[in-house]
């Protein structure tokens, strides 16, 4: 059994090997928060008998649970996020399920048709769309803050306020990457960590700067924030033009029939689509919209993976 926090965290990380990195990070933060609170409370209570602190703390680690037990609890909670009195018991002997599902029944595996149009009723698609539209705004804000922060820090470094300013800037970057993590998790459904890495206690300004400079995530997070501006512009433009184009194809025939006027300017007049082609235009428009929604959902997934790689510490 580990005797100090760092050893315990290392063992816990080992026990969680192969798990989702964001889950590992959550588990490590929870353990660190708890054990540090224990250590502070024990140190306070036993300040007259310092010889007993080590033993008390070891007992506290025992109460927290072995790395294996704790790791199993996190893995279990992640697999079944729904709470309540969930029954995982096997049906009693002699009780048969009313319907025996065939493994390859058509219900179990959606057909091509459902897979193609299923995207329209998938809430995740619209959340991803919301993310892609929002990324233009967040991208602009992040880009401005990071570029300003880097250049102003660079200018201040020759002054005495340079170092505190740079530390403050790093703290802002961490807060922003947590905020972006929340957005990514809510809208793209990718699990992201809930809190930032904590710095070592009781160290001087220089040590703190070194700690954050050595953390690879500080730099990948800044790079992510800079890249989010061009990405956000591309995402926004693509989704708006694509969906507007599809919508235009769907609406145009109805407008042409209702008003008797066409809205397709071909230079020396207005082009009227022949009547027989109008249903085809509507079908084409629907196809464009569904394909766009597929594209939106795929970009959302890809971006979620990218955000995770850049914002989550993987070590």
């Amino acid at each position: 059994m580990a005797r100090d926090i760092d050893t315990y965290l290392r063992e816990l990380r080992g026990a969680l090997e192969g798990a989702d990195p964001a889950l590992v990070q959550d588990a490590l933060y929870d353990a660190e928060e708890h054990l540090r609170s224990e250590l502070a409370s024990i140190t306070e209570r036993f300040k007259d008998r310092p010889m007993e602190i080590a033993g008390e703390f070891e007992a506290a680690i025992g109460r927290y649970g072995s790395p294996l037990e704790v790791a199993a609890a996190y893995r279990g909670a992640d697999e079944a996020p729904a709470v309540g009195l969930q029954s995982t018991a096997e049906p009693a002997v002699g009780v048969r399920p009313a319907v025996e599902l065939q493994p390859a029944s058509p219900l179990a595996r959606p057909g091509l048709w459902r897979r193609f149009f299923g995207v329209v009723v998938d809430t995740g698609t619209y959340l991803a769309l919301a993310y892609l539209l929002l990324s233009l705004v967040t991208g602009t804000v992040f880009f401005t803050i990071v570029v300003t922060g880097i250049s102003v820090s660079g200018g201040f470094l020759i002054l005495i306020i340079g170092i505190p300013f740079f530390l403050g800037f790093l703290a802002v970057v961490r807060a922003l990457s947590l905020a972006e993590g929340r957005i990514v998790e809510k809208l793209l459904g990718i699990r992201m960590p809930r809190r930032s890495r904590s710095e070592p206690r009781g160290t001087g300004l220089g040590d703190r700067i070194r700690f954050w400079m050595k953390d690879r995530r500080t730099w990948t997070a800044m790079l992510y924030m800079i890249l989010l501006l061009p990405l956000g512009i591309a995402y926004f433009t693509l989704s708006v033009t694509g969906l507007a184009g599809g919508l235009w194809l769907v609406v145009l025939p109805f407008v042409q029939v209702a008003t008797g006027h066409s809205y397709v300017d071909i230079g020396d007049g207005w082009y009227q689509f022949p009547v027989w082609s109008l249903p085809l235009l509507v079908i084409a428009g629907v196809l464009v919209i569904v394909l766009m929604l597929h594209l939106v959902r795929s970009i959302g997934r890809a971006h979620g993976g990218f955000a995770k790689a850049m914002l989550v510490r993987l070590d």
């Binding site: 928060e33 609170s37 927290y64 649970g65 704790v70 909670a77 996020p81 009195l85």
Partner: protein, 129 residues
């Protein structure tokens, strides 16, 4: 003969552990939700663990490290909400509070629990039917 009794003791001990684990799976959520609901302000994990320790005394069958994933899962299902605050000692702390759906769910959970408990007591005492 001796190895037979040791083997039996092992079987029983393993079955007790498994039984306790399966019981905890549902009841820990109920206990944690009740504890968070019972506090006046937001509480952090360590406080909850200590309170649980005080309530249950030495007979605590739950490792404190297994409480945190349950808190997170209660939050993920919207029954608790949380925020992070920096602390003087050590890393920032995550404070939990119960949400409105959490209060409503807790009321239903309590009655489910009472029903389950009465039913099991009935079975154990042989008063069924």
């Amino acid at each position: 003969m001796d190895s037979d009794t040791t083997h039996q003791a092992e079987v029983i001990a393993a079955s007790v552990r498994k039984f306790q684990k399966e019981l905890n799976a549902g009841t820990v959520s109920l206990v944690l939700l009740t504890l968070v609901a019972g506090t006046s302000g937001p509480v952090y994990g360590y406080q909850i663990a200590k309170e649980l320790e005080a309530v249950s005394g030495e007979g605590l069958q739950i490792k404190q490290g297994t409480l945190y994933p349950v808190l997170r899962s209660l939050e993920a299902s919207g029954l608790l909400s949380s925020h992070v605050e920096p602390s003087v000692s050590g890393p920032p702390r995550r404070y939990y509070r119960i949400t409105d759906p959490g209060h409503q769910a807790l009321a239903v959970w309590k009655s489910t629990w009472v029903g389950t408990r009465d039913f099991i007591d009935g079975v154990l005492e042989g008063h069924l039917g």
